[in-house]
Amino acid sequence: MRCEACRELLSPYLDKVCSEKENKMIQAHLKACPGCREQLGEMQRMVEFLHHMPLPSLPEGFAESLHRRLDAENLIIFTPQQYKIPKKQSWIAAAIAGVALVGGVYASTVLPLGSMIASWQENRQEAGKPRVAINEILKEFTYDKTVVTDKNPGGQVVQKSAGTISKPEQVKTADNDKEAAPAIDNNNAPSNTQVGPRFADAEAVRLTVANATETRKQVIQIAAANGLPYSYNNNGCVEALSGPTAQGVTLKVAPQDVDKVMGQLTALGQAAKPSQSSIDMTEQFQDVQNQMDQVQDQRNKLVAKAVLSAQELRQLDELNAEIETLTDKQARLEKEASLVTINVYFIETVNP
């Protein structure tokens, strides 16, 4: 066994996850090789003090702070000054871009917006910045999507897609064709794939019932019976309300089951016509795509080399594993985007 091969295996050897055959070979080699023995010793000592590194204890006030945040989570408060109805021209711009949000917001200026924002809270911690949703979408459509080729002084042709907000000095029109196939470039600039806007569908159902708490239980039962993920929403309320009666329910349903579930839901009370809207998942998709681009770029550079060192081969392995992980992530996002979000709101009738 050569030193290089042995050193590759020292880490799993230390953790006792090598095969019997590998163990025998390593032990035989170590007997005869002081260099590898030294490296193993160094690794052992390093792992020892990592084990013993002092870890800070939970700071004071951590539990109280968490407590407060959990409470806030159950009670998303929208007051008029915390969000603004978007200016008309923003909506026109969005409409031109063909965004489905427009219909949902015009249907009611308050409730669907609230529901969209509530479902949007996943990645947005601040409850007071709903306008960001609109801005993100507009940003998407003001990106310069021109694909340009750029010849650098070294005479190498490099393909860049200007997916970032374009600055005039960086964008040059090509003197030759713009459809050059992406080259595995010798310049190190990565190409960023722009994902198209991705939206998941959402429906809002408003039920007028005698007892909201009771009906909510029934909705949860429907969810459980159908095996659907559910969570609480703020019941589309503008004013602060306390307690569980303020909570509506949000379900995630596969497209083919939507009709069935909607049927079951609307049977629970007097339902207004459901209104439709969209949830913007573009950023999540773009994030994963960006990571994928970076990793694939690095991989392509390695693959382009005629000869790879052992270290580079290892790197290639890791990059391939990374690509696998990211592909899985993309598949999961796709699945999530295919689900329809149903927001159920309760309106309690007051008995005179």
């Binding site: 020292l10 990592l50 800070p56 939970l58 959990l70 989570e73 159950n74 911690q125 190190n188 559910y230």
Partner: protein, 193 residues
């Protein structure tokens, strides 16, 4: 004394007190993990809370394929890595002319003024530990997570695979590479006896 299962059920129906009790035994470890990822106590506190909040919000996605603790570590890891990525983008926005890959797969060596303590100091000292943290911060995210989960949090390979949502083979190779990189840094600075 309620069982974890009971607390889980209560938490699922919106009982935040039950959730707090459920995570009480894990929050120290979640915080410690966040600390080793982020490098500062303040960040660790923020990230740990965000992770726990995220866990509460997506509690019904916990299928029991792994232990609850491992599931929390997974969320913590993702929350921290996302934040670190965001910060990296903010500090050095991807310029079209900047090389992305490192030469020979080496980590980008940050320009830290070398304050390496001498080799004769005690390893228990906090200053040495802080210094090791700066070396850990130089590692690429996938290597940092692997070595922190294995050698600091002492999780098994299987638990790490579940935490990172990758294969055992990937776990093995990442731990191996991470340890090698850290070892080299320590040897270069003559910090290994």
């Amino acid at each position: 004394m309620q069982s974890e299962e009971q607390l889980l059920q209560k938490s699922l129906s919106g009982d935040t007190r039950a959730f707090e009790e459920l995570v009480a035994q894990y929050q120290g470890k979640v915080y410690a993990l966040a600390f080793r990822y982020m490098g500062s106590e303040e960040d660790a506190s923020d990230m740990a809370q965000e992770a726990l909040l995220k866990a509460y919000k997506s509690l019904r996605l916990f299928k029991g394929n792994s232990s609850f603790g491992t599931w929390l570590y997974r969320i913590t890891t993702n929350v921290c890595l996302d934040e670190l990525r965001k910060r990296k983008r903010r500090i050095s926005p991807l310029s079209l002319d900047e090389p992305l890959a490192m030469q020979d797969g080496e980590e980008v060596d940050k320009e830290i003024a070398d304050q390496s303590p001498g080799a004769d100091i005690l390893y228990e000292q906090k200053e040495f530990s802080d210094y090791i943290q700066t070396l850990l911060d130089e590692l690429r995210p996938e290597h940092k997570t692997a070595i922190v989960l294995r050698d600091v949090m002492e999780l098994s390979y299987e638990e790490i695979a579940q935490t990172l949502d990758c294969s055992l083979g990937t776990v093995k190779s990442r731990i191996s590479r991470a340890r090698d990189m850290l070892r080299k840094k320590l040897v270069d600075r003559e910090l290994i006896p």
